[in-house]
Subunit: 404 residues, 2 copies
Amino acid sequence: MSQYHVFTPEHAIDYARRHGPGFDTGARLSAAEVGDGNLNQVFRVVDDARGRSVIVKQALPYIRCVGESWPLTRERARIEAGVLRRHGEHCPEHTVALLHQDAGLSVLMLEDLSAWRLWRQALMAGEAPAETADRLGHYLARVLYHGSDFHLASIAKRAEMVLFSNPELCAATETVFFDDPYHDHPRNQIAPALRPLAEQLWRDGPLKRRVAALKHRFLCDAQALLHGDLHTGSVFVTEGGLKVFDAEFGCYGPMGFDLGSAIGNLLLNHCGQPGLHPGEKGRAEQRRRREEVQTLWRRFHDDFTALAAGCADPALAEPGYVADFLARVWRDSLGYAGTELIRRTIGIAQVADLNGIEEEETRLACQRTALTLGRALILEADTLAGGKELAALVAACRQPSGEN
Amino acid sequence: MSQYHVFTPEHAIDYARRHGPGFDTGARLSAAEVGDGNLNQVFRVVDDARGRSVIVKQALPYIRCVGESWPLTRERARIEAGVLRRHGEHCPEHTVALLHQDAGLSVLMLEDLSAWRLWRQALMAGEAPAETADRLGHYLARVLYHGSDFHLASIAKRAEMVLFSNPELCAATETVFFDDPYHDHPRNQIAPALRPLAEQLWRDGPLKRRVAALKHRFLCDAQALLHGDLHTGSVFVTEGGLKVFDAEFGCYGPMGFDLGSAIGNLLLNHCGQPGLHPGEKGRAEQRRRREEVQTLWRRFHDDFTALAAGCADPALAEPGYVADFLARVWRDSLGYAGTELIRRTIGIAQVADLNGIEEEETRLACQRTALTLGRALILEADTLAGGKELAALVAACRQPSGEN
């Protein structure tokens, strides 16, 4: 195992040359830092002459955008490699390809998807490929099923739970999803005009009890090996495909957490449309978001149900049980989607679908819608029978201005 | 770390002399095997001259009562020592004292409770100490609270989940609780006259879906560090005290599993009373069992709630959440109690409260009651609001003969 040291572009080139596919010794390689800079170093290493490229991603022993004062385990590189390996085994068409891993260096080599587009950017531009939600539903069914007790024998699954124990990154998730946004915490980023609405949330006992239950479920309920950070910025899309990446938050947890993260981000985009695309274009995009949420859930539900026909567990294979279970996953997904809407609006890590809206009053109105919808999802999760009822709730939840 | 070898009584004496409290070099020690012989070797080492004694328990690399053909990890000794240490830290008055552990030898030295009585024997004799259920409720609140997210910070608790991962013994639990009794499996022990009732269970789809949910919860829901085998034969009692032992099935799991195991065993004794104590004595014992179930739950509930006032988790500390959570634990407990009644009546490991009834028709009637009550508990768990409603259900559930 290699000795850890922080990569320069030259190190990335040297690593890519030694382990990359098709970079022979004579190739002239260049490397540039391309990461969003939050957690890790990400280099793109290119052989221009042959038109080949790879991504070299290295975990630092701290959070990059903060510095050495906020240490964070390099274990996350091991977790990410493991999750990509598992998910790649069960859904290779929608998982970024892991080409090489060096555990000592906390380095992963990944296929280069720079020619693809982030789903979030495509959604914001109103140009998301039509099949995306369907593909993500397929991915979620494949990866969540195969990491669950429906597929794995108990002893094997308990070993996986140990292998993918990811305490530090889970603690970060718990803090930003379930703690900070429900208290007056200095990490929150709250527009002054939104503060009264935030303070309402902080005083909302029934809401906070539901959030406590969702957090407790995330802490305890090891249903499947999650991606753990499945927002629309963790998904690359093209007209012909979809690839999920950035799996360092992977852990065993409730399936509804991944589904809810994805649904929540589609709904954040929905909330932002009056600012992103005023008028009919925005309303059409909103109709698409509502359809996409339904498509995502339906494809997940149908594929998971089909896979569960092969379940070998004597108890879980009982006819009807998978439907009981998926009804609970649906309710969980709505609750987690609600927490995603709220934390992305007033918490530490926000999204361009809302914050990218330049006109202030419109942006605030969209943010108010997100908070209102998030709260409604958390409180009404148990009463929304299916995708249509959800779509109706979302369509009815508009910003107070009455526009749109 | 010592090299593993199977203990003879002489080895147990030597080990006790080296590590036991107060066995000086001149002491004359004797040792006898005193285990029930199912899984392990258990020696009682005695210094008659000084009136001191200890228990030396060794895990074998197989199930003792079957032999080397059924291997079982010696890891269970490490788990047991760890669970006793944790539980002993949080409830020393009700946890058997761990005096020494040798990991290499898979040996534990434990305080000798031979002068105490198994709770099951006391219950069958109609001589259970009055405070027992109350004490067990206190024990459960203390140990389950301190192993849960209410007490442990997320990172520490996830480390505990890894430390106490116990795949092989959990798989045994899952098989005997949730699989075998609901199918025609050769491991089941079904009196021919009970077979029609067993076959009814095997065809009962709604029941089996609920059992699937209970098994799935046991597989996934890591709420607290459980004892994992808390039947009335894992509890020593005296008029003045209670000590829980045999913790090798310890694991992270749903709190209702431990509570349900204990409640289920009280109810098994309830079902057996027409055979154990015909007439008024039996009816009085049944009233006591119903009261004990309520006492056990009330003490657990009240102590847990009081402890949760000190919860430091920003989300779980929300006022009202612990009550929401305990309502779910109550429902789980009823369901797991139901599975305990069923598996102890037709599964591989049965109980003397029923099987010890000599008169065949009475025994069969009691067993039928146990199956009927078990099924009712599983199906009606969500509708029984509290201990009184449970007691009413139990009182109404009598064997078909109409006696009692």
